[in-house]
Symmetry: D2
Subunit: 344 residues, 4 copies
Amino acid sequence: MVKIYVAVQGATGYAGGELIRLIEDHPCFAIRHLAAHSQAGKKVSGVLPGISGPTSAMTLAASDAPLPDDVQLVFTALPHGAAAQSVKAALDKGKRVVDLSADFRHRNIATYKAAYGLDHPHPELLKDAVFGLTEFSRTDLPGTRLVANPGCYPTSTLLPLLPLLQAGVLDTGRIIVDSKSGASGAGRGTKTDLLYCEINESVQAYGLPRHRHTWEIEEWAEGFSGEAVSVQFVPHILPMTRGMLTTLHLFGQRPEGWHTILERTFIHEPFVRVLPEGSLPSTKAVNGSNRCDIGLMATGKNTAVVISCLDNLLKGAAGQAVQNANIMFGLDESSGLSAQAIWP
Amino acid sequence: MVKIYVAVQGATGYAGGELIRLIEDHPCFAIRHLAAHSQAGKKVSGVLPGISGPTSAMTLAASDAPLPDDVQLVFTALPHGAAAQSVKAALDKGKRVVDLSADFRHRNIATYKAAYGLDHPHPELLKDAVFGLTEFSRTDLPGTRLVANPGCYPTSTLLPLLPLLQAGVLDTGRIIVDSKSGASGAGRGTKTDLLYCEINESVQAYGLPRHRHTWEIEEWAEGFSGEAVSVQFVPHILPMTRGMLTTLHLFGQRPEGWHTILERTFIHEPFVRVLPEGSLPSTKAVNGSNRCDIGLMATGKNTAVVISCLDNLLKGAAGQAVQNANIMFGLDESSGLSAQAIWP
Amino acid sequence: MVKIYVAVQGATGYAGGELIRLIEDHPCFAIRHLAAHSQAGKKVSGVLPGISGPTSAMTLAASDAPLPDDVQLVFTALPHGAAAQSVKAALDKGKRVVDLSADFRHRNIATYKAAYGLDHPHPELLKDAVFGLTEFSRTDLPGTRLVANPGCYPTSTLLPLLPLLQAGVLDTGRIIVDSKSGASGAGRGTKTDLLYCEINESVQAYGLPRHRHTWEIEEWAEGFSGEAVSVQFVPHILPMTRGMLTTLHLFGQRPEGWHTILERTFIHEPFVRVLPEGSLPSTKAVNGSNRCDIGLMATGKNTAVVISCLDNLLKGAAGQAVQNANIMFGLDESSGLSAQAIWP
Amino acid sequence: MVKIYVAVQGATGYAGGELIRLIEDHPCFAIRHLAAHSQAGKKVSGVLPGISGPTSAMTLAASDAPLPDDVQLVFTALPHGAAAQSVKAALDKGKRVVDLSADFRHRNIATYKAAYGLDHPHPELLKDAVFGLTEFSRTDLPGTRLVANPGCYPTSTLLPLLPLLQAGVLDTGRIIVDSKSGASGAGRGTKTDLLYCEINESVQAYGLPRHRHTWEIEEWAEGFSGEAVSVQFVPHILPMTRGMLTTLHLFGQRPEGWHTILERTFIHEPFVRVLPEGSLPSTKAVNGSNRCDIGLMATGKNTAVVISCLDNLLKGAAGQAVQNANIMFGLDESSGLSAQAIWP
């Protein structure tokens, strides 16, 4: 079978590494070009010890090195701002792009500026971008040349929230989102705060009063449901490498019926599992998979707790990116992805 | 100096072990009697490897073995139901008791039954019990013979919540309490769910729809403030041994003034530290200490996030028990306790 | 494509769970029957939360339930002693078996008795068993009906040791093997020693003076090399779920040439990677993969340190079992297995 | 009681932080001056969140800021090379110094150069330095003005090794030392290798072929026993913050008598515990304490495994430093130190 050649920009971060792994084991995609910023010129094996085989012997190109002609698909896993440049360059050469950064997630450049403090580098491309929350964007993906892959927190929040918003059962003025993330979500930067000894045996909140992903959650909650919402979002970093659990404290009407709403929405989804009512998900049950597990428990006449779990590097990043790319290229949506967790 | 002799009932659990450690290094208390249920007859060294010196060579008595006459103070760290029996026996022999179980935390036996599913074994003793949230119970402690030591979740919730309730600034109908606890809070029972491989690299909620501590939080929120409150409490278990972080999502009036309220309340407290506004606490900064750190961040015109951190086995259990006992016996409240964390 | 139907006996332990995951994602094998001992009658989803899809809804049969006729391959992941019974029953029904227990690893029943304290339940089957250290047993696997899958410690020890023994360069009288294993190697039994709070932030040796795997290492070191060896083997349990690192402290002649010996032996192996001289492996670089990484460093004129890393549940258990089964059934040896690690 | 004023140089590393904690809770020492290099000018609270009370509000002085006149004792917790400069300056002002760096641990500048690649900055001071392995240096400590505090690996190796060397029972030509350390031993530098996500769920060896501490172990093994020894030392970094376990694989005569040798040596020591024969230590049982636990198991006619455990930041660094300082100043050796572990 002829493979589709792929490039990864920002190959040496944690999401970049997962992209390489997924492509290595993918039946239709093949690595053709790997680029990195500070690590350019090094061999993959010196930076990503988990990768073996011929790819591990490849040399990392510079971020701005020209893309090979036979590359059809580019994944950009770069910081916001920098990503937009690479996306532009790739689109200009006729490639299709899945961008894992925040650069094309907002339809409005004022929102982008509020969240990221930057003037958008390429606002002219925004109209082409599909926000790739796969389960809600599926029909827009096949034709697009640019997918804005959602953030991990927005994915974990929107998947359980959207069906309830679309059903009109929520009190949209007080949506409390309390998220817990493994440390890999904070990236591979060499910061004191991310040292093993500072993270281990500790938990803390961060990003307050308004974490950047709050804008993304609010924009797409409304974008997909038509309902304006106000979200209080508090993320926490936990002593684990992977995994994200989001606890939604929700108010609304007749929560005893919400479980059915969730179940109906996701019943045929390969990568979203709604647990039986009263059953609560754990991150361990999704780590290493592209799955999002959702549990719901009514806690009062007008209140419920809804909890989602996913692997922040997979369904929250590289896995969803491959899922989106599969659809873009007309492949089986599950190609190269597993719904089974590496457990324990 | 003449030491005050102490017994610990339930010496081989995690809180029991911490009690022994604290008493070993305490200037005025001394271990005289250690009892356990399933481990009775064994040496301390075989069950609690962290204890060294003469105490480690002691043999564990049975739970119902008679208390030595010279014991003045008994700590009971037993399961609810069983604790009440031991408390009764100790009081009958004229001892003073700090009970770490839930048995004497509720003033109303109907609440106790709702939360624990038991008819209270000794309701006649309830009138004697002081709920030992030290910072709010200080004046009642010196004269009492029975302290009901608060639960870890209630301690971590009530310390930051009570000053705001007392100030009357909160919307008391929608108090969201999202707690994250290290695994030692779940005890030392040999359950599959508590195995290393099941807890590590995982997070999950539990105890829904209404964890037992919800009743304790609501009862004492009202008990200390006079305000009836409704709490949605969702606890999570995290891959760490110790530490508890409680995130309160609060609604109310003028949250920009709440930091001052907290600061004023606790300014002279040896074991409560209110961080500068905008600074967020971490559990690592309190582990191994008897301290509770509190941070606050206004997130909107009517909303704020308040976060507390404590070591669930110290300020959340054995540390607060010793703090209470210090006051009962007229000692310096800080005797044998440290405000410094074992960090990192 | 017609699938080969598979049964897993002992499906609810950690190795059993990995077997199910691997088979779920395998192109040629399919789960047909899952049996367990204490969990029989439960649904898979209640015991193995990481498994999703139709298999998660299967009910666990009892260990002694009859195997379906269309099952061709049985994996037994049961305790020693019990495994032999299930193996016998499966062979009697004409199935082919990969046994992950120790029951068929020893050619000599006296050795088995010394190591496991049992009279061998079915010594008549020993002559049929192939010791499935894939890289050294490859030619014997296609025709066999019974594979004794090696232990995790023996796999991690023998892979780096055998090439050096076969080359005759080692002082065979003083081979020091110091192994470090993640906690999943100790199984899923509900023992106090395996609780999260006892394992986390701790390391200790166990199994001294002579861990059971010492016999297996010595027997097969000689079995594959013809050289009798004396091994001092000290295993340690570490605060991590998966991963095994084995440090061999070796004495012998001209260690500067040993790296070449290792490299030549494994150069075409899909699942053994010899790192460049001076490069040291880490368990993180192999976790989630079926790979064994080996590093070597000469430390003196007659001494070297050789270090191997593997995932104890994969190349050390379920992964190697599938690798062996692939060869038994004439499939591509790598089917359903990955050489890429889940990293970080 | 009049306190002895203390300065800490290098206050913001992990050992520096532990020194501050220990001094804060010490009955006779008091913090007077805290200096740091890159963090100078910051408040303690911004860098060491575990410290509370007045000390947390102190501003960190620059490393070369003059020491206050009333400071009598200086702890230097600086990198090698830099430490010697600070030690010289402190001694010149008449202070007494406990140096936690390697700068004064070697009596021979050629050894120092071989191990650290530096010409010794102040060789004239070497004659004044006492190597502070407390249990073997006790008589030299009261009169000295400079203590070279041992490294963590040498402490954990020499404590169990020296009694056996002194007894003359070991084969000194093949001493295998396989050490496992928590990540805090690698310091607080912002290196990719020390990030949470790289250390967690991983173990690896490092520092080969000859880690710097090998020279220190060999020098003082001979220094205290008179026997020249050859050590193969292999350190590993583990996914835990604290704790060091050293496994010694030893050859020699009549290992059945070695336990008695260890027991007799340490029977009156407050901070060394020899476990009953056959009992194996764990790091969790010493973490947070200044204790070293030692276990021994004969494994053959001429072989034994001896295992020591200590907290690398306490008995392996700051704890032993305070123990030495206590003796220097004529205080109770145990002042401000605990033999009880923070367990679990």
